[in-house]
């Protein structure tokens, strides 16, 4: 990479997913994050019951993310060849886990009935 700045990164991501899909995904991620912040502010507290379910969903998010990346790239666990690969794998899993937790928490808060904290 000769020049690596945000404009280049955005250009590359637009090419990976197509301009429409990329910005749609950014919008969806932003909406979910906003909805999450909204329910936090609305409820003025973290609902630990919902948080528990969100936590339980995290391993599934992690596994889904890793399986998705493996399937998209013709590769698998056997291809981990060095520390950076392990870090990348864990980062992908962590992203999947956190994303899933936020999603589950938000969905529960938006559609579920409030059953105490």
């Amino acid at each position: 990479m000769k020049e690596l700045n945000l404009a280049t990164l955005i250009a590359v991501f637009e090419e990976i997913f197509g301009r429409g899909l990329f910005w749609a995904m950014v919008a969806v991620a932003a909406l979910i994050t906003l909805a999450y912040l909204y329910v936090l502010i609305r409820d003025r507290a973290v609902s630990w019951r919902k948080f528990l379910l969100a936590q339980i969903s995290m391993p599934f998010g992690a596994i889904l993310a890793v399986v998705f990346v493996h399937a998209m790239t013709d590769s698998g666990f056997r291809d981990v060849g060095g520390p950076i690969d392990l870090i990348a794998l864990l980062a992908i899993a962590a992203l999947g886990a956190i994303g899933m937790a936020i999603l589950v928490y938000t969905v529960q808060s938006l559609i579920g009935r409030e059953r105490g904290t």
């Binding site: 990479m1 020049e3 404009a7 250009a11 590359v12 090419e15 013709d74 291809d79 060849g81």
Partner: protein, 433 residues
């Protein structure tokens, strides 16, 4: 505003990736000019330059000359020839990448007259230019291999992935059959300069890996036929490849240059320091000698004392400006520089020519310099690659020092090739990367 990776990582890591970054590269005011710039070739180099120039110049006439309607994403050919992608993966339309307000002449250049500053096309159109950028790419000299012709590809255990997406797909047919039935595999490379010197190695590694995964490691006997006494032009990489070959049971044969094949008998003849030698094969991968197109070789623009059988354009290795004609530049495969026949090199070369050309039009001197940067995600098996980057001096110049080791077979390097490479290439074509 340009940042190198370290600055970027430091900023991003410090959570400071703030507003100046979002604006990306801050462009100067377009330079006003009425110059006519002719670009020969709408491949990776010609297209990227046309897009970048159109953003930097106001009033310039840019004409791009190329008869090919299909744009080829050549880094994809290795993947097609390993059955990982279909032929269509590497094909798009030339026209979809070209900037508006550029004239595309869908013909081949027939003559370049650097004294009269005129290009004549095969259809007889005469183009008088103020500045000329030669980015024609190279030609594959298949006729130089006796007994070989392109219609043989995919039959009789013959592969030739360089010849294009369809031939890469046919190559996979022959290679797949070989990976199942086994026998002797000969993987060749020419003695001329060539585009992506890593590709012959990738094909070797991939077909070995595919045979192995299918449980046929015991059936295949793979030989890599090096053109000289090394396996790669960069010594430290050559040594690494030698070790990998040893580990994988791939036998290197040094100084064996393919001269002829007998498809019926499945026998190849190699020129070696000890005279011609014959080898039987069950699968052979042919990469022919590579040269500048005739229109370039006949124009008097080639080096007179270097690569005389190949005819690359005589340019300064740092500025890519012609050493005898200041109004001519060469980019990409056809440029007569020691390294740099890859798409990654083009990505580094284009901003250099852009800078010198725009500076000249603005009455200044250009400052950018090309250091020979060449990059090769050297695939060693499906799922792993080595991200090898080097310069004119054979130094390794890793993009992510301390993070992605250049001589390690890594999954992350494979991920980058799979996910980001074509996207980065497309962004480069549009002049955005």
């Amino acid at each position: 505003m340009n940042l190198d990776r370290r600055q970027f990582l430091t900023l991003a890591g410090g959570g400071l990736a703030a507003s100046p970054l979002i604006s990306g590269t801050v462009r100067a005011e377009p330079v006003k000019t009425s110059a006519h710039i002719v670009i020969l070739g709408a491949g990776a180099a010609g297209t990227a330059l046309a897009n970048r120039l159109s953003g930097r110049l106001s009033g310039a006439r840019i004409t791009i000359v190329d008869a090919r309607k299909d744009h080829l994403y050549q880094p994809g050919l290795s993947l097609i020839a390993a059955g990982l992608k279909p032929a269509a993966y590497a094909v798009s339309q030339t026209g979809q990448w070209l900037p508006a307000h550029t004239t595309w002449i869908e013909e081949r250049a027939a003559e370049i007259d650097p004294e009269a500053k005129r290009v004549t096309t095969e259809g007889g159109t005469a183009l008088d230019y103020d500045y000329l950028v030669v980015a024609t790419g190279l030609v594959l000299d298949h006729d130089a291999i006796d007994g070989f012709s392109l219609d043989l590809v995919g039959t009789n255990g013959i592969g030739a992935l360089y010849a294009g997406p369809d031939y890469a797909e046919k190559t996979w047919k022959a290679a797949q059959h070989y990976s199942e039935t086994g026998g002797i595999g000969l993987f060749t490379r020419p003695a001329t300069e060539m585009k992506c010197a890593g590709a012959p190695l990738k094909h070797t590694f991939l077909i070995d890996d595919i045979a192995r995964t299918a449980g046929n490691a015991g059936k295949v006997d793979i030989h890599y036929m090096a053109n000289n006494n090394s396996l790669f032009g960069v010594p430290i990489v050559s040594e690494k490849v030698r070790m990998l070959f040893e580990n994988r049971g791939i036998s290197p044969a040094y100084s064996h240059v393919l001269k002829a094949i007998d498809p019926g008998a499945r026998r190849a003849t190699f020129t070696t320091p000890d005279g011609d030698q014959e080898r039987d094969y069950d699968y052979i991968h042919v990469i022919p000698p590579q040269r500048a197109p005739d229109v370039v070789r006949q124009s008097g623009l080639s080096w007179a004392d270097k690569w005389v059988d190949q005819g690359w354009v005589e340019v300064d290795s740092k500025t890519l400006r012609h050493r005898r004609y200041a109004d001519i530049f060469a980019l990409g495969d056809v440029a007569g520089v020691p390294k740099g026949k890859t798409a990654a090199s083009v990505k580094w070369q284009v901003p250099v020519v852009e800078d010198h050309l725009v500076a000249t039009l603005a009455g200044r001197d250009g400052t950018e310099s090309y250091n020979g940067y060449t990059s090769c995600p050297l695939i060693t098996r499906i799922g792993r690659a080595m991200l090898i980057e080097f310069d004119y001096s054979n130094n390794l110049v890793p993009s992510f020092p301390g993070v992605i080791a250049p001589l390690e077979e890594l999954w992350i390097s494979w991920l980058m090739k799979e996910v980001a490479l074509k996207a980065t290439y497309n962004a480069m074509l549009r002049g955005r990367a």
